[in-house]
């Protein structure tokens, strides 16, 4: 079996059986490509994991593209990325066909009343967990961004003022870079002043 075919089948399997999102998948990928097939070295794998987590997009997609490219070039990347999406796509598409009818069942309606609260709980605890991780690192700028964005975004949204989430994200990236550049300037200033 060619490498591209193996990539396709492996990522199809991974796409079909990974619950719990990207991070659960990282462990599975390591087992498959580092320990069993030896297609990727351990160091390269950790580089990949860091890149997949910090670039935009789902970790699953990012790692499929990266591993696919490193083992079989452009076509490897394309085949792996598509393969990891195909199971989700089929499952969700099938569900979407019957979802409206399903939601009209009385008990399902009752259940989904509760589930709405469950989803808010999930999102809330994910946000708290992320915020706590940032808070613990004791970086003043990051703490400030956290509070400023949460405060303004909530206030704007509750006063029905339209704001773009996109602008917040990009502005904070720019603030991060500016703070770094300001730090550099400050640093060279103080080193210059020393006799």
């Amino acid at each position: 079996m060619g490498k591209t075919t193996t990539l396709f089948l492996t990522f199809l399997k991974i796409g079909a059986f990974t619950f719990g999102g990207g991070y659960a998948m990282i462990a599975l990928l390591k087992e498959e490509f580092v320990s069993r097939k030896h297609w990727i070295t351990e160091d390269d794998f950790y580089d990949m994991a860091a890149i997949a987590e910090s670039t935009p997009g789902p970790v699953a997609i990012n790692s499929a593209t990266y591993i696919g490219y490193r083992t079989a070039g452009f076509w490897g990347a394309l085949v792996s990325t598509l393969a990891v999406c195909i199971p989700s796509f089929l499952i969700i598409y099938l569900i979407s066909l019957y979802f409206d009818a399903f939601l009209h069942l009385t008990y399902v309606q009752y259940a989904f009343q509760g589930i709405q609260a469950g989803v808010i709980y999930l999102i809330f605890s994910a946000g708290i967990q992320m915020a706590a991780g940032i808070w613990k690192k004791k970086n003043r700028l990051h703490r400030l961004i956290l509070f400023a964005v949460a405060g303004t975004a909530t206030a704007l949204s509750l006063s029905a003022v339209h704001f773009s989430t996109l602008l917040f994200i990009l502005a904070c990236g720019v603030i991060g870079v500016s703070a770094y550049l300001a730090g550099l300037l400050h640093h060279t200033d103080t080193t210059r002043r020393k006799p």
Binding site: F19, T65, S96, F99, A117, L122, T165, F168, G173
Partner: protein, 194 residues
């Protein structure tokens, strides 16, 4: 043209969804509400289904929302839109700039974005809570509390706390959704008999 709109919106979401999983929810929520594609409670139900099926949340949500707005073609285009930015960004990194993350400027950019994403996720949760629990979309609205969903939320807080204390583990998303479904049914039965 709904197909083009779906593709472009999801492309945008894919391009700035830092922070994995829940990171893309605030922008996705803004998109579906602003375009009138889904109501808040439909959006929440879609998240519940996407969380309890295999595969990345972003792909599941894109497929689901795409299908609801434009059938099979809509779901294909939304899904392609959401994965395309990642695909090209990673391709460029893997082929040309593998040490991208070692540049201080890139690190600084990402470090500014991370707290922002956490804040936006919290904001999304809070505004969703205001709408679902209290019927408030902006402060001029009169409050109409929905005691069933509020009770479910409080019960989940308790369950989450108990699980952490007793087993030292957090509940998995699927367990939380299953619990909340049971609470929803039980509470409805209690409320309608009382």
């Amino acid at each position: 043209m709904i197909y083009l709109k779906l593709f472009l919106h999801f492309f945008k979401i894919g391009a700035v969804s830092f922070g994995g999983g829940y990171g893309m929810l605030p922008l996705m929520r803004e998109t579906v509400l602003d375009n009138g594609w889904l109501t808040e409670s439909q959006f929440l139900s879609f998240i519940a289904v996407s969380e309890s099926t295999p595969g990345p949340l972003a792909v599941n949500m894109a497929t689901f929302i795409g299908a609801s707005q434009g059938g099979i073609a809509g779901s294909l285009l939304a899904t392609l839109g959401v994965i395309m930015p990642s695909f090209f960004i990673i391709l460029v990194i893997a082929a040309l700039i593998q040490n991208l993350l070692k540049y201080e400027g890139v690190k600084a950019f990402l470090s500014g974005i991370r707290p922002c994403i956490a804040a936006l996720i919290l904001t999304a949760a809070v505004t969703m809570g205001f709408r679902i629990f209290f019927g408030i979309t902006d402060i001029r609205n009169r409050m109409s509390a929905d005691y069933r969903t509020i009770t479910v939320f409080l019960l989940l807080l308790l369950a989450g706390f108990a699980s952490k204390k007793k087993r030292g583990k957090k509940l998995t998303p699927v367990a939380i959704l299953a619990l909340s479904a049971v609470f929803g049914i039980v509470l409805q039965l209690i409320f309608s008999y009382s």
